[in-house]
């Protein structure tokens, strides 16, 4: 019951294109189905359909919209202390830059995504893939690839310095296959510390990301 895709239908939660975003669009789809697909008209009373709509919206909500148990204040201490998160991540202008800025993370991720980021190996976000290159002059540079095409690569090294290469200047390029983000926080931290860290991140909001207007981005029907 996490909104992921099933055998016969796409995910209700995530980054899928052409989501039905508004309550009205969801209601319409559940009530009338999607012609030509396996999505039937459910024939439920309207009140029940609205309950389903609310449930789907809740699954899609960002972490900051969800009641997350835990001591966020203590979580902040874990974040900057034992968790050593500031070494890679920036929070409100302080911290490292090799990982994504987390100042607004509570508004950007669902709670589930947040937990998975801390506990499971996940796909490496664009712009954060580890890379090691050796130049033709023999210099080795390690960091993350901010961008890359067939002819050039832009690397941020572990000393916060950018290196911009034409690939003809490089002898070797080795791409990392796993994210630099540790995913053992549920083990490296105590259960209480982990829960508090999650609570702190879920509450970490500077500004709500673009709230789509009713109907904006809707699939045409």
């Amino acid at each position: 019951m996490d909104g992921a895709e099933g055998e016969r239908a796409p995910a209700l939660v995530g980054d899928r294109r052409f989501f039905r975003l508004s309550e009205n669009a969801l209601f319409d789809t559940i009530k009338n189905g999607i012609p030509g697909t396996a999505m039937p008209a459910l024939g439920l009373p309207d009140d029940d359909i609205w309950r389903i709509v609310v449930f789907i919206r809740a699954m899609r909500a960002s972490a900051s919209d969800v009641d997350v148990p835990g001591d966020a204040e203590h979580g902040a201490a874990v974040f900057s202390g034992k968790g050593e998160c500031l070494k890679c991540h920036m929070l409100l202008g302080k911290g490292g830059i090799i990982g994504p800025d987390l100042s607004n993370i509570g508004a950007q991720m669902t709670l589930q995504h947040l937990r998975e980021s801390l506990t499971q190996a996940r796909p490496i976000p664009i712009g954060y893939r580890p890379v090691k290159v050796v130049t033709r002059s023999g210099e080795t540079v390690e960091g993350i690839a901010k961008n890359e095409d067939g002819f050039s690569i832009q690397i941020l090294d572990f000393h916060d310095k950018l290196h911009l290469y034409d690939k003809s200047e490089l002898r070797q390029i080795v791409h990392g296959t796993t994210s630099l983000m540790p995913h053992n926080y549920d083990q490296a931290l105590s259960p209480g510390e982990y829960q508090d860290l999650v609570a702190m991140l879920a509450h970490q909001v500077t500004v709500k990301v673009h709230v789509k207007e009713q109907g904006e981005g809707e699939v045409g029907r």
């Binding site: 050593e84 202008g93 100042s103 901010k146 890359e148 050039s152 911009l164």
Partner: protein
């Protein structure tokens, strides 16, 4: 924890990122291009001479970066240690300046203000930070290597209609930012923020409050909705520690009846102490302006002989149709002369530089032909000065307007408050030129028409190779011989150019950077492509 430890062993030493120092910011543009107008003097003259008259014909576009959703871009690219920073409203991009590939981008999320209401004219840089302003009137400092926000500070109340669009200027640890819109009856000001912390340090108000010097130049309560925007980037003299900022037009733009008086410090150049924001001197180009001729054009600082004596000069080609030479230590008026053929509102300037008015040439209820038009004989597109030729180059518009006035009232909330307008008389005489003037006499040495351009277009760049680069509204990017004005190269960008070119050098190769309407271009001299690396 083993994995955690391994990762943290990889480094995370203190930042070794490119650190821009005060000393670097004080230098004339060379490999890097660190200011909107190249350097504190705003001369826009680069010492790079790899691209020169003898080879400019082989200049080619090396790369193009399409700004997502971009349109009407007006930013000047800034290049630091081979990283290029460009902006569109509320968005900033770091590019690899050799390839045009994106390194990072940052989008400022707005609470209410329109996202793409522009323009935005670019960034400033200092230490490991890059600064830009937003349409909801914030100045934001970002880490130059990653785009992470380090601090953001409010400049003005966006709900009142204030925006900020000019590229900031950084001097001695202070970030200077101005505001728009003077055309909405919003009083302008210039603010200094601490570049490291974002703390607000001082504010200079364009419009003096009752009791302050200059307040007598505003009748009644007219000072309350008076304009005087600070909508372009100023210049700075580190030796005198003075900022030179040009102040915009009074409100309502076209109806002066409700604001009798000279209306200080609109349409003026003000010299401000960097440490305190206190005004040392001012010079008003157009007292009691009724044609939207805000004096916001770029102040260009040049040390040159005047009447046989070395002087610290400030020169400005003004929207009102006159070229001015001032002493920038004192504000003394030294010279003024017409920079356009079609100037009918004043016959000349007095010994103090005040215009000698022609009676009746002002907006009226039924309409009056006024030259130049409200677009101006020139405008915000940057001029350039080449110390090798001793010539000052600017973009000129010959044209008049049929100007009317009305009794529009001020409305709070950022509505237009112009009190009239003018119909641009686009007859056969309506033409755009690049002109070269002798620095201290204002005497025209050459002009080159921007054929097919209906309005001014982009500004100018001078480089030591003897070439002036010029972006036209019709899309042509042109190189002119700095001594003769003859075109020596051109490239059709296929889109209107409303920005000023710049130049930089990476790995021994000189580039010319240009923002056109929706794309950024990097030009270099042609050389056969190396073997593909793919």
């Amino acid at each position: 924890m083993k994995r955690l430890a391994l990762i943290f062993l990889l480094g995370f030493a203190s930042s070794l990122c490119a650190q821009i120092t005060d000393k670097q910011l004080e230098q004339s543009p060379d490999s890097d291009w660190l200011h909107y107008n190249g350097g504190y003097s705003s001369q826009r003259h680069s010492g790079l001479d790899q691209i020169k008259l003898s080879n400019v014909g082989s200049l080619v576009s090396k790369w193009v970066y399409h700004v997502p959703g971009g349109g009407g871009l007006q930013c000047v690219p800034i290049v630091v240690d081979s990283v290029m920073y460009i902006t569109q409203p509320n968005e900033i991009y770091a590019l690899d300046s050799r390839s045009g590939r994106l390194i990072w981008q940052y989008h400022h999320i707005l609470a209410k203000a329109p996202d793409r209401e522009g323009p935005n004219r670019g960034v400033a840089v200092f230490e490991d930070k890059v600064y830009f302003t937003t349409t909801d009137s914030f100045v934001i400092a970002l880490n130059a290597a990653s785009g992470n926000v380090l601090w953001q500070s409010k400049i003005a109340e966006a709900s009142e209609g204030y925006h900020s669009s000019a590229a900031p200027l950084v001097a001695k640890g202070k970030v200077l930012v101005g505001v728009i819109y003077g055309d909405r009856g919003l009083n302008g000001f210039l603010v200094a923020f601490d570049a490291r912390t974002g703390e607000r340090l001082w504010q200079f108000d364009s419009i003096p409050k009752p009791g302050e010097p200059g307040s007598e130049s505003w009748a009644g309560d007219s000072w309350k909705h008076a304009g005087g925007a600070t909508w372009l980037t100023g210049s700075y003299d580190p030796e005198l520690n003075l900022l030179y900022w040009a102040i915009g037009n009074p409100s309502p733009d076209f109806n002066g009846d409700v604001r009798q008086g000279d209306n200080l410090y609109t349409d003026s150049m003000v010299a401000l102490d960097l440490n305190t924001g206190k005004m040392k001197w001012h010079f008003q180009f157009t007292p009691h302006d009724v044609m939207d001729w805000d004096g916001a054009e770029i102040p260009v600082l040049v040390d040159a002989p005047f009447d046989g004596k070395m002087r610290k000069l400030l020169v400005q080609a003004d929207r009102n149709g006159f070229y001015y030479v001032l002493d920038r230590e004192t504000g003394q008026f030294l010279h003024g002369s017409k920079l356009a053929r079609q100037v009918n509102w004043a016959t000349g300037l007095t010994e103090q530089g005040r215009p000698i008015l022609v009676p009746g040439i002002e907006p009226s209820l039924k309409g009056t032909k006024v030259c130049p038009s409200s677009t101006g004989a020139t405008n915000w597109m940057s001029p350039t000065y080449n110390p090798q030729t001793g010539l000052f180059y600017f973009v000129a518009l010959e044209g008049c307007g049929l100007a009317t006035k009305n009794t529009e009232q001020f409305r709070p909330g950022g509505f237009q408050y112009r009190g009239g307008g003018d119909v641009l008389l686009k007859d056969d005489t309506w033409k755009v030129y690049v002109r070269a003037l002798e620095l201290t006499t204002g005497k025209q040495v050459w002009e080159q028409e921007r054929v097919g351009s209906g309005s001014l277009g982009g500004g100018l760049l001078s480089a030591a190779g003897g070439v002036i680069f010029s972006g036209e509204l019709n899309g042509e990017f042109v190189a002119l011989n700095a001594r003769t004005g003859q075109p020596v190269w051109h490239f059709n960008t296929g889109q209107p150019i409303n920005s000023q070119p710049m130049t930089y050098m990476v790995d021994g190769k000189q580039y010319v950077g240009l923002t056109a309407s929706s794309d950024v271009f990097g030009f270099t001299l042609f050389e056969p492509e190396k073997a593909a690396a793919k």
